[in-house]
């Protein structure tokens, strides 16, 4: 659809675009990225025919762009610039109707039914039909931008060029605009757009072109462009890549360079032990990966609560009840990891372990009533079990990689299994050594300050600390609950 060969160009004497080649297929949503002054807009202006290249060629539908008459080109390429303004109070419909200029023929340029249909359709697609008769000056920046998009669509182009189209739009219109572009690309429109927002570009574009100093830095699918190293090289900014939660596209998070913060060590003194719950409220939020009733998954959490419930606690809407309980106790649900257990809080146990530069606090409440050997097939599952849950918290005083979090969970689990085995706890149905209980929860939280810990496997300092602390805490708590049971 569009082919760019060895394009050179710029204003005045200096070259801003220095040898750029790529091609875009029909129906593609193609994003152009790059820092300020990297030549994005100059490149777009040459593709739209606004600026004459100093060298190289632009082929539109296999025909050099210079060979097009202005009207002919406007029927193939429409452009939505960053900002368009008029001194005069044209109405929305008058503005959109100008998009039909290139389609009007004959001496009197009469307005046909086809023109009217195209204008109405463009206004409907962009949600501007509602204020068709309003003057442009009465609209907000975002509404105006949509009017000019409607104008471009009224041209019924085959290629749509956009320069930072989401600039003046709020979040919902950004999404709507890009959803619309995606849909139109699926219907065969070729869309080429400059983006400032890496994440939006990655999310919506089929392919991306990353420009740096007038040249192509990287060209490819979002996953090829959204590489921390590329972004750092081009933007000189530290970012961290993560997957999008729903869509298989990478996203980038900015890493701010804040002043160095003092180290914090989470230890036993932070534990608040009450008869019905146990809590830790660290002075700063901790990065946590957990399972639990509330606050599961990834998050920055500033409170950790383990709540004792009666062994007959059985509610259909237990999540709601739990949320109400934690709220009542003054915990912010957005920032709290909450777990529940029938184990008495007096039977909780904790252990702090230090290995080299890293220390770990493990807190456990362990009851083995529902002990299960996960490796054995079971024929039935008895609904009503004796109470028993193993909740494990691991607080690591260090800066952990995501890999370390996962390994931390693994190591903690291995330590738990070993503690159960050493205590001789068996699955009552199968009679074999149990590996856990049916309702266990685990948490790994880290201060993300201090020494960097890339790994938490079983032979690393962090892994060893986690293994020992968890083993000791679980073993002790198991003993306490067993003793309590025996004394009943």
């Amino acid at each position: 659809m569009l082919q760019v060969n060895e394009l050179l160009g710029g204003y005045g004497s200096g070259l801003i675009v220095r040898g750029v080649s790529f091609s875009v297929k029909q129906g593609e949503l193609f994003g152009i990225l790059g820092p300020n002054g990297s030549g994005k807009t100059t490149l777009l202006n040459m593709i739209s025919g606004l600026t004459k290249p100093s060298g190289g060629t632009v082929l539109v539908k296999e025909k050099p762009i210079q060979a097009y008459l202005p009207k002919e080109l406007a029927r193939v390429i429409a452009v939505l610039p960053q900002m368009t303004s008029s001194q005069f109070a044209y109405t929305v419909k008058e503005t959109v109707s100008l998009g039909r200029y290139a389609h009007q023929k004959g001496f009197f340029k009469s307005w046909t039914a086809e023109d009217e249909r195209a204008v109405q359709e463009a206004m409907n697609q962009t949600g501007t039909a509602g204020f068709a008769e309003k003057p442009l000056s009465a609209l907000s920046g975002g509404e105006r931008q949509r009017v000019f998009l409607a104008q471009a669509l009224a041209q019924e182009p085959e290629i749509l060029l956009l320069d930072e189209p989401t600039n003046h739009l709020d979040l919902s219109y950004q999404k709507e605009l890009l959803d619309l572009l995606k849909k139109m690309a699926a219907d065969g429109l070729t869309v080429i757009s400059i983006f400032h927002d890496l994440n939006l570009a990655s999310l919506y574009c089929d392919r991306l072109l990353l420009m740096n100093k007038g040249k192509i830095h990287t060209l490819g699918q979002p996953a090829d462009i959204m590489v921390e190293e590329h972004i750092h090289n081009v933007y000189h900014t530290n970012v961290q890549k993560q997957p999008h939660p729903e869509v298989p596209k990478p996203q980038m998070s900015l890493l701010p360079e804040w002043p160095v913060q003092p180290d914090i060590e989470i230890d036993e003194t932070f534990i608040e032990q009450h008869s019905d719950y146990l809590a830790i409220r660290p002075p700063v939020p901790l990065k946590a990966l957990s399972s639990g009733v509330i606050g599961a998954g990834w998050g920055w959490r500033s409170a950790f609560v383990n709540r004792h419930v009666d062994q007959n606690y059985q509610l259909d809407n237990f999540e709601e009840e739990a949320a109400a309980y934690f709220s009542n106790k003054g915990f912010d649900l957005q920032e709290t990891v909450g777990m529940m257990t029938a184990v008495k809080m007096e039977d909780a146990a904790w252990r702090k372990e230090t290995q080299e530069s890293v220390s770990v606090l493990a807190v456990a409440t362990a009851g083995a009533g529902n002990a299960v050997d996960v490796t054995r097939p079971r024929t039935s599952w008895k609904e009503k079990q004796t109470p028993g849950t193993i909740n494990i918290w691991v607080f690591a005083n260090g800066k952990l990689s995501e890999e370390a979090f996962v390994q931390g969970l693994m190591t903690a689990t291995e330590a738990k299994v070993k503690a159960l085995a050493d205590a001789g706890i068996t699955d009552r149905e199968t009679g074999t050594i149990a590996t856990g209980t049916s309702t266990d929860s685990t948490l790994v939280a880290a201060t993300q300050r201090g020494a960097y810990q890339q790994f938490a496997g079983s032979v690393t300092p962090l892994g060893i600390a986690i293994g020992r602390a968890v083993y000791e805490a679980v073993a002790e708590s198991l003993q306490k609950t067993a003793r309590r049971r025996a004394s009943l």
Partner: protein, 330 residues
Amino acid sequence: MFLLAAAFTGTAAGTIHVPFRDIAAILAHHIIGTGLDLDASVDNIVWKIRFPRVVLAGLIGASLAIAGAAFQGLLRNPLADPYTLGVSSGASVGAVLILFFHVSIPFLGGFTLPAASVIAAIFTIFGVLLFARAVERSMKLETIILTGIIFSSFLGSFISLMIALTGEELRQIINWLLGSVSMRGWPYVQLLLPFFVTGACMLMYMAPELNAMSFGEEKAKHLGVNVQRKKMLVLVAGSILTGAAVAVSGTIGFVGLVVPHLIRLLVGPDHRHLLPLSMIAGAGFLILADLTARTIISPTELPIGVITSLIGAPVFAVILLNKKQKGSVT
């Protein structure tokens, strides 16, 4: 309707009042050849003096208003007027030179002044455009406006120089500069008409392009307008209109600035309506202004430019004030 009423009133009023019915009869007599049973002197006053004067005033008003509307749209500047590009200064220099040196070119006789003026105006346009092109090949509008200002002030100082050097012609020159449509007669109408028809038709034909270009040259180009060519055509057409109008009547201010504004407030900025309506309103406005100029302190005639400015400036001030209060961007 407004134009017709203005024309009739303009013809009727004066030291000798002529009833509308008689005017209609005289016009019918001259145009479609019906019989006439009126006094020959009345016929003379109407057909030879008043009516050509009204027609001339109308044509000049129309020329200035449509050129002003087009320039405002093209230059994306509501404060632009037909004189922005220095055309009037050029035409004035031509005219003042003639008055200053008492030149009279054979064959042309009394036409020497307007002819020289039109030629000077056309030279000025091309001077401005060529200079702007030399500055920047793509001829951005900003460059053209700046070039126009340079030419305007240079030629303006030239006129001041000549005024400073003149003796008894001073009043004549000042009067010409203030503008007048008196004692011109049909030959002047004939002189102006071809320029008017050409310029007005060109501009009205380019109304859609003017709409597109008022969103900026780049946007117009994206919409498929051949910007370079159309821009040139609008400038040339507008300048022809202005140059010819200035040549026959001197610089009459404010018509080209205020009339398009009023019409834009009434019908909106769409040039397809704006241009023809500005033309009609401009014609009517100038006919009435001329009427006022020659009757208000009759028998003395005021220069018509004084009246247009006297009416135009306050009207414009009010428009500006309203606009600012409404908070819309000018």
